[in-house]
Symmetry: C2
Subunit: 314 residues, 2 copies
Amino acid sequence: MGEFDFIARHFRPLAGAGAMELRNDGAVMNLPAGEELVLSSDTMVEGLHFLPDDPAKTIAQKLLRCNLSDLAAMGSRPRGYMLNVSVPPNRHYDESWFTDFAAGLAEDQKKFEFHLLGGDTTGSPSPLVLGVTILGSVRQGEALRRDGSHEGDGVWVTGSLGRAALGLQARLGQLKDEDGSLTLAYRVPTPRIGLSLYGIVSAAMDISDGLIQDCGHLAEESGVAITLYEDKVPLSPAVRQHLSHHKERILLGGDDYELLVTCPPEKEAALQAHCATHAVPITRIGEVSKGAGVRMLNHAGKPLHFSRIGWQHF
Amino acid sequence: MGEFDFIARHFRPLAGAGAMELRNDGAVMNLPAGEELVLSSDTMVEGLHFLPDDPAKTIAQKLLRCNLSDLAAMGSRPRGYMLNVSVPPNRHYDESWFTDFAAGLAEDQKKFEFHLLGGDTTGSPSPLVLGVTILGSVRQGEALRRDGSHEGDGVWVTGSLGRAALGLQARLGQLKDEDGSLTLAYRVPTPRIGLSLYGIVSAAMDISDGLIQDCGHLAEESGVAITLYEDKVPLSPAVRQHLSHHKERILLGGDDYELLVTCPPEKEAALQAHCATHAVPITRIGEVSKGAGVRMLNHAGKPLHFSRIGWQHF
């Protein structure tokens, strides 16, 4: 198949304003007055970030949603994205695969109200490599950051943790996923787009590399210590039943795409009210103090020890 | 090596305003009032777009310059870029390789006055995959496009063609590159950043896939026919000496990253004067007429026939 026909068939229908039907060397995009651009980028590599037999549609959704989650972490709404696809000469990734892939992109473009701006399609000698650079906007100066946590702030997390990490184990045949909810969480995360936490939280990020490691980033960037309480970590019933055998996986596994925020005590009521309005569960799991590093205490107040800290990219 | 240390060592020194030292989930960027964003993206895959033993520094420069050329084609100046790197577990791509790679990025950031905003680093099971999404800006509505060519316009090209295509042959040992200029053109193209052709040219694009194929894109998007004259195509002396044996390679080979523009007759003097001011050679190589498609005529007015039309991406 030729590159140009391939792009026209699969990706042109996804192109929105500014993409100029993918017919130029690039795209244009306008920002509303008083807003600034927010940018993030994530690459997914076959065999590392998805399995070749994951459905094309959910691979597309995960690709967009990992990026959407970064925007959510910065308090931004999505506006558009650039898509990079490097396709191996492998019959598995055929017309029908890309039809499903584009359908997944289309569905999430509609759900999250943004569109394709442009990108690049190349060959690849072996794995399928998929990249998205996402563009969002926020009001000037209102992007959430990781470096604002202060002593006395509470540490909060949206949703529940560990489902995606166990979902991957289920995909690998290591664990039984009775209702399929774990596998679904691994394949199709829920980015927390739509919350407006500027002025409420002191710092924010998304949990992609595991709770402990990502708390470590937040603590480091803010120059503080974080204490977490094991029995406060929100777990779904499907996850809780695996807690005794898979504790590290649940706490360190990553791929949660939930928001991790710190919040001063006087804003906690506002945080809970705002999340309730948006039907996003949020739970206080720890607190910020002077010092450095992250520790997690069990129900007896003893620190947990882990064999690793989280997902290592390479 | 850990991802976070790796990023800190090699890429943090390249980060500019808005990148927030690569310490957050993403970056922010502002646009001057009255400007709109221009976006383009290019991926380079080891073995397809560069050779593993090309110098890391020139691989970095080519990666940026291919993207810069897309901005130049749209009449935009660069502001920043997102970098995606997927690194194989291959000793060849070691610390020293990435030190040189980052030095190449730094040199061109300085030359072209833009900076790193953010990106993503992952593993890769086999090839090194490098991606850049570049961000530039133009005054609202002044981005150059491919769809404005009209009957009677001249077809013009900057610089000279074929050096990079022959440079690749030299790299592969198929051709002698006496002064190294062909290899250099292949490794380090010259994006035509800095020209201001809005209001002068009727359409523009860059030549990345070969003159004939890219003229075909321009003709198709503008709904016109293009006639080119073989003996008008600008060739450097090093290229001209290979013309008899490598004509197709020179005319179809791609990787030139020169600008291809069409210009109404009444603006030709302005085009030439503007390019002269910026010391960019520009040559009239053909004309636009009613109809469709591209043909190239030889010195006797006979159409040339080619065995292929240009670079196919996959």
